[in-house]
Amino acid sequence: MNPFIEIITQPDNIAIVIMIIMVTFFTLWAFQQAFDNDKLIAAGKPVDGENEGLVDTFKPLVRIELIIALVVMVFLTFWSIVVDAPLEEIANPTLTPNPAKAPWYFLGLQELLVYFDPWLAGVVLPTLIIVGLIAIPYIDINPRGNGYYSFEERKFAIVTFSFGFFILWLLLIVIGVFFRGPGWLWYWPWQEWDHSRVVFEPTRDLSNVIGIDSRSLPGFIIGAIVVNGYLVAGMVAPYRYLKKKMPDFLKQFGMIRYLVTTFLFITMMSIPVKMVLWLVFHIKYIWITPWFNV
């Protein structure tokens, strides 16, 4: 069979196809409504739902809930009749599959293992994702865009969240499911997997680029300066920009909120930064220390 058809019709991967379809549909719907509301706001008209009244729960709401429940039930039943859940061979600790993949919703994190050591990719970053999500309502103090779809009124929030949600979460999942083969090497979905393929990619660390051993003291110092410099610059530069352009906002925002926001933001941006360093420049580590590598 065509490997592309084969990979997207694997029973567990059908879920990913369904996810892609559903996410695409709801994303278009959300942005469509956001742009519609933006136009209404620009024209000084009330947004969708602003002048809405109340309806009885019984029966209009109960009826629609029942209908949705039925539709979901029919959909899942149909899915369960058409596709059988796979059951592989019995667990065998001596037979490691290649690649050994985590469940699909964690493949974004597994993909990060290409770019970060496990303590970062598997522990620190997931923790910061959770903390960062919970922090959103406390750091987004923009009162507009509350209770309706909109884009113009909260561009920064939507662009940042969308980058995290679509690129860093969903796209990496799709890559992990469809584009990663043996040895976690890149395979196009229509390519046959080749278990004997080895790719020799010369790796180096940042300070090697300028001819300094990354495991030496000077290499350590350079790494420390770059990593900490990134953090400090990432937190100072926006401050200076805001101070100049939006001083009132900065005052209202407050120092603690500013520090938390920029820290979370530059941590998130460190993911694409490290991806580029690795994919484009083949740089593995920026900072090597006796205890951990970044």
Binding site: A15, I18, M19, M22, V23, W29, Q33, D48, G49, E50, E52, G53, L54, V55, D56, T57, F58, K59, I64, I68, V72, L76, T77, W79, S80, D84, A85, L87, E88, E89, I90, A91, N92, P93, A100, K101, A102, P103, Y105, F106, L109, D117, P118, W119, A121, G122, V123, I130, L133, I134, I136, P137, Y138, P143, N146, G147, Y148, S150, I158, F292
Partner: protein, 257 residues
Amino acid sequence: MNNQTDIKERIRKNLIWKSIFRRDYRNTVRDRAQAVFGNIFLHLHPVQVREGAVRLRFTWGMGGITFFAFIILVITGVVLMFYYHPSIEQAYSDIKDLEFQVPFGVILRNLHRWGAHFMVIVVMIHMFRVFMTGSYKAPRQFNWGIGVILLVLTFLLSFTGYLTPWDQLGFWAITVGTNMGAATPLLGYQGPFSEFLHITPFNDVRFALLGGSRVAGNALLRAYIWHCVAIPLVSVILMFVHFWRVRKDGGISKPQK
């Protein structure tokens, strides 16, 4: 016609019927309200809701669909438990039995498996909709936080369930996943700084997750108990806090300008 109303009337006047429904329903304002707060399930809802709650384009019903997916998983999961032993001697063959021996066993297992995938998908879309409508803003900040925890619990529910068939897929997915525990700073034996706490493969986070230093019988039992008891319990409690807060925060959010 006359006969029909007569029968209806007689059923309604019947002792058993009256004991169940307590009162007549006459489609008056009072009775419509009574129908909601007189019913333990319906009274999750207020008596009246925003029109937006009924027209699908605002919420897409996604939170409700997530909850419904969860209910399906609880029901199919309980039935699956009748056929399953969490031991490495029996787990795999129990799943095989489901396939070949148990009436409707295949459908049962499929519903549970695809329902789980479905719940993970819809909970992410629910979060996306809440974000896009700015519904996490005051006064709903706290409920967004509860939601994030529910999102994580949904992932963990699915993850712990992965191991239970004791097949290669689950075994290695859990091996990959729990190896991350070994990388925890300070508390995992491969994590940074753990040497200062004298952490070994036999006392670190991974060991606690697996009940051992590798994925074996204890890990299966732990996954099973997390999956069937502990995480569902916490999830249900948090879901009810979540629903309670949706109401206390003023119902589904509406444009505030």
